[in-house]
């Protein structure tokens, strides 16, 4: 596994490549033979029933979960084992969580500058400039001096997006970024994500927001029981060129 890590990726445009990936939690196999590649500029939406392995798959990209079978390449580097290399990969991959996970003991500004200051050796003022730039982009720069607990859920999630962007990642991962939000705040977060997509950011998004998928995705991946059951273009997916399970799942979530 590790001796392939120096080998350059065949296609430099492929930012994420899963090849035959398997993942177990003890006896339970959560991912089965996952093959998936995400190209530069692609916007992949991942959906599927609860427990189907969506989070596990996306978390394997930056190794918040590690896999036991197959290989995962991110930006041309294999992610496995080596901590230093993993840290490098993680700096190229931004992640946004369902529960925001902002650092509660730091101001909004500090939340966003921590990565740039510690990882890229930027001075405080350089990092502040970058942070304010991204906070402006998610329209929350005026809250820079507050603490996470003083912000609404939607605002916190936008800060989390700015925090991830401040590392200037090549790929952004989103794991159900809106499902912990009150309905009236969902759109402010989706709008920010749509803008990001319009700017050409490569994105992998686990979400049940089919409106967002329709508007923003170019590929839709449907998972069930740890497998990728569908992986097709958006138009194809929504036009009904999909299997029974995907159909059943879609009609269920589109009902409400």
């Amino acid at each position: 596994m590790s001796n392939t890590s120096a080998r350059p990726q065949p296609d430099p445009d492929t930012l994420i490549a899963f090849e035959g990936v398997g993942k177990w939690f003890d006896q339970f196999q959560a991912l089965k033979d996952i093959n998936l590649s995400v190209k530069q500029g692609a916007r992949v939406v991942v959906c599927g029933p609860s427990g189907s392995g969506k989070s596990t798959m996306i978390r394997c990209v930056n190794q918040l979960e590690n896999h036991q079978q197959g290989t995962i390449h991110v930006c041309g580097r294999e992610v496995y084992g080596n901590m230093k290399q993993l840290e490098q990969v993680r700096r190229e991959v931004g992640m946004v969580f369902q529960s925001f996970n902002l650092f509660p003991h730091m101001s909004i500004l500090q939340n966003v500058t921590l990565g740039p200051i510690r990882n890229s050796n930027l001075s405080r003022s350089e990092a502040d400039d970058i942070a304010l730039h991204y906070l402006e982009r998610v329209q929350i720069a005026d809250q820079a001096d507050k603490f996470p607990s003083q912000l609404s859920g939607g605002q916190q999630q936008r800060v989390a997006i700015a925090r991830a962007l401040a590392m200037k990642p090549r790929v952004m991962l989103f794991d159900e970024p809106t499902s912990a939000l009150d309905p009236e705040m969902i759109n402010e977060v989706l709008d920010v994500m749509t803008e990001l997509a319009d700017d050409g950011m490569t994105m992998m998004v686990v979400t049940h927001e089919m409106g967002f998928a329709r508007e923003v995705a170019d590929r839709v991946v449907f998972m069930d029981e740890g497998r990728i059951e569908e992986n097709c273009g958006k138009t194809e997916f929504f036009a009904g060129g999909r299997g029974e399970r995907a159909q059943a799942f879609l009609s269920k979530i589109l009902q409400h």
């Binding site: 930056n62 918040l64 901590m83 840290e87 490098q88 990969v89 993680r90 700096r91 991959v93 931004g94 992640m95 969580f97 529960s99 996970n101 902002l102 650092f103 509660p104 003991h105 921590l114 990565g115 510690r118 990882n119 925090r163 991830a164 590392m167």
Partner: protein
């Protein structure tokens, strides 16, 4: 009903009165009830004091309180000469101070060892914890003094310091580990996802959130270390308890001296607790 609350006035806490008015109480009833509780406490203490006094009288114990002054200090030709009790408490403070610092260090290292991925780190930490927790402190002290001290050529003071530090360090380790593990998983993940190095993750994200959980029990531990330090009197380190024992064998004033020694520990530990409480309240306000 009487909850101990850090902001409660000391007197109220000593008497076990919560000092908080119950919402439906009219003020007068509240005061009357508090007074009644104070009276109860005073009555109980009074009875206790009387029992001791009566018991001592029955034994025909001769109280000699007038002799205790010089045990603290003497002034000879205008010069202040500390007596055995003052010297003893200074040694106790030294002993407890040095062991505190060491026990925090040992605790932190052990906590890191237990949580690390290294098998060596984990097994060393676990062995240390199991040995310290499953043998009596007194036996540990003898091991340090009679076995390790001669081998490594350390004197009785340092044997006492190291033994106490090793003992309290095992509790500090669990307090520190508990605090660190109480930080939410999402915080670790966010730090990892940001690409922080392991050191930066702990330094900037985890430890700052664990400290408010660690500090209160840790300060409690260090205050109790002052009490535990009395045990090193068995290897004749000249701290407060040893000095008390020596005075008793010289003067046979066991009752007076034990009351004084206990009182000195009490004053020391309660004043430290009060200081820590004040500090905590200030820290909470600052946040």
């Amino acid at each position: 009903m009487t909850q101990i609350h850090p902001e409660m006035p000391l007197l109220a806490r000593l008497l076990g009165v919560d000092g908080v008015r119950h919402p439906k109480d009219p003020a007068s009833a509240h005061i009357a009830r508090s007074l009644w509780q104070v009276a109860q406490a005073i009555l109980l203490f009074g009875i206790l004091a009387w029992l001791i006094y009566a018991g001592a009288a029955a034994m025909e114990y001769r109280w000699q309180w007038y002799r205790v002054g010089p045990f603290f200090y003497r002034i000879i030709d205008g010069e202040f000469i500390p007596g055995p009790l003052i010297n003893g408490i200074l040694v106790t403070l030294q002993l407890a101070g040095i062991s505190s610092v060491l026990s925090i260090l040992i605790g932190a290292l052990t906590a890191i060892g237990r949580m690390s991925n290294s098998i060596a780190g984990r097994s060393i930490a676990t062995t240390y914890l199991e040995i310290i927790r499953n043998t009596p402190l007194l036996v540990q002290l003898f091991m340090f003094y009679f076995v390790l001290a001669p081998i490594f050529g350390i004197d009785r003071f340092w044997a006492g310091v190291l033994c106490l530090a090793a003992f309290e360090g095992s509790f500090a380790a669990e307090i520190i580990r508990g605090g660190i593990q109480a930080v939410e998983r999402g915080q670790y993940e966010a730090a990892d996802a940001t690409g922080l190095s392991k050191f930066d993750k702990y330094r900037y994200v985890i430890v700052p959130q664990a400290l408010p959980l660690i500090l209160p029990p840790l300060t409690g531990l260090l205050i109790s270390l002052i009490k535990h330090s009395a045990i090193v009197s068995v290897i004749a380190v000249s701290e407060l308890t040893t000095e008390g024992l020596n005075l008793i064998s010289d003067t046979y004033m066991a009752f007076e001296i034990w009351f004084i020694v206990a009182g000195m520990y009490l004053v020391l530990t309660t004043s430290l607790s009060i200081m820590v409480n004040i500090l905590e309240i200030k820290m909470n306000r600052a946040r």
